[in-house]
Symmetry: C2
Subunit: 275 residues, 2 copies
């Protein structure tokens, strides 16, 4: 049985396109709808109540497109789904609602030998404790060390990914985690994979990096294989799925960023969207 309905993606900005890219590579026949709440970004500096309100609005908006599943590709927004009661969902949805925290936590546990796991995230993600809870529920022996890294997103947006100055900032944020002899580090924000090279250089070869884009792609793959959870669009691999891009504050500069993040010259432009 096939299901042509699109998969909805939502992020505070464009960083979630890196998650979408990973998933679209594995499932090129699927249709996708992406919504970036660029008029109100970033979420990572805002209160849990405001992040939750925004997340609910964006999920409701995606449901109107008759999506078959929703991926909350933003770590800060994902905390609003998992908040305080652990695996029990805070926000209801009639279709499967994926977040990036749980798959990231699961991959980190599988990756770590010492079970000393570090998390780099926005202020909101770290303050929510969502990664620590998701990890400790699944692996009670794990010890989680968290570090807010609020300057990394603006450094990526400034285009200084390979700047020596950025490496100094990375070092400042990683030093407290490294002193805890972690062996695994979760890149807990969609922007951080852009800094992967610098982070890997500072962290050294004894620390494995976990990218939630990869983790969520694996989880979707599993659910597609169990057909009762999620059905693919078509088994005809020659079918190329549609990708529709919406943003609450659309601009031509965004189209450029989208092309860069999606490594694709044939993207449609962002359409404006009012929440």
């Amino acid at each position: 049985m096939s299901d042509p309905r699109p998969i909805g993606f939502f992020d505070s900005g464009l960083g979630g396109l890196t998650v979408l890219y990973s998933i679209r590579e594995r499932f090129p026949s699927e249709n996708f709808i992406y919504l970036g709440d660029t008029a109100r970004l970033p979420y990572g500096t805002k209160s849990p109540e405001t992040i939750r309100r925004y997340t609910e609005q964006c999920i409701r908006a995606l449901l109107k497109f008759d999506v078959k599943a929703i991926v909350v590709a933003c770590n800060s927004a994902s905390t609003a789904i998992l908040n305080s009661r652990g695996t029990e969902r805070e926000i209801d949805s009639p279709v499967p609602l994926y977040n990036v925290i749980e798959p990231g936590a699961e991959v980190a546990i599988r990756t770590s030998t010492s079970k000393r796991i570090g998390v780099l995230g926005t202020r909101a993600t770290v303050a929510s404790n969502a990664y620590a809870r998701a990890i400790e529920q699944r692996e009670p022996n794990a010890i989680v060390f968290q570090q807010p890294a609020p300057l990394l997103v603006p450094l990526v947006e400034e285009g200084w990914e390979s700047d020596p100055l950025t490496n100094l900032v990375i070092y400042r944020y990683l030093a407290p985690l490294m002193s805890q002899t972690i062996d695994t580090l979760i890149l807990g924000c969609t922007h951080y994979p852009a800094l992967r090279e610098g982070i890997a250089k500072v962290a050294g070869s004894s620390i494995e990096l976990v990218d939630s884009a990869m983790a969520i792609a694996q989880m979707l793959e599993k659910d597609f294989s169990q057909e009762e959870k999620l059905k693919i669009h078509t088994t005809d691999t020659s079918v190329k799925g549609r990708l529709t891009l919406y943003a609450t504050d659309a601009s031509p500069a965004m189209d450029q960023t989208a092309k860069r993040l999606m490594k694709d010259d044939h993207l449609d432009t962002f359409q404006g969207f009012d929440l």
Copy 2:
């Protein structure tokens, strides 16, 4: 004749409190209402249309408090008032509507000998050309050099004001302006005065720094002295005016920041405000 109505202040975040502080020091008997649009900050990375829409909403919200004047303390929001048609106002208001661009431009012209003037601002402020237009309309011989400095706000918010790393970033942004031999530099964002020491060190003694908080305070002083434009609350200097704080995303962390920026332990806490 006295006018007890409050003066409304509006900023995307809390940086405008530095402007309010300067004005309240000169006019301690006045009543003030401050509105920070913290649920949607920053404005400086968003499109002119979105900044304009947010600015109009905040101005309408302040007008409901029966204010006698409104100070748009945010540079990025101020560009929405002046946009494209120069001194002609884009947004109508039944009470005097102050922005920080025009007074900053006027002080810079008075300060500069060579009329080679630099502007450091957010992406939105620089892209709007508002400072360049305001300066060139008043002083056609002036040459304005602009530099977007998007990392400075996050560095201040991280609390790294006197960090050597911040000085490296300041140097990176100031170098192109200094190569143009400017003699005056406008700090075109309410956060930048927090970096005044580092900026002054990098700029050296041949460049004067212009702070829009000081400039707008001088302009209000002039209008209070011409009573037909603006009337003071009372001539009784023993009267201490009220200050009411509103934020679209209020949090206890904000109250701490407010106390720091206002150098005052006796501030009320922020109240939530829905736009």
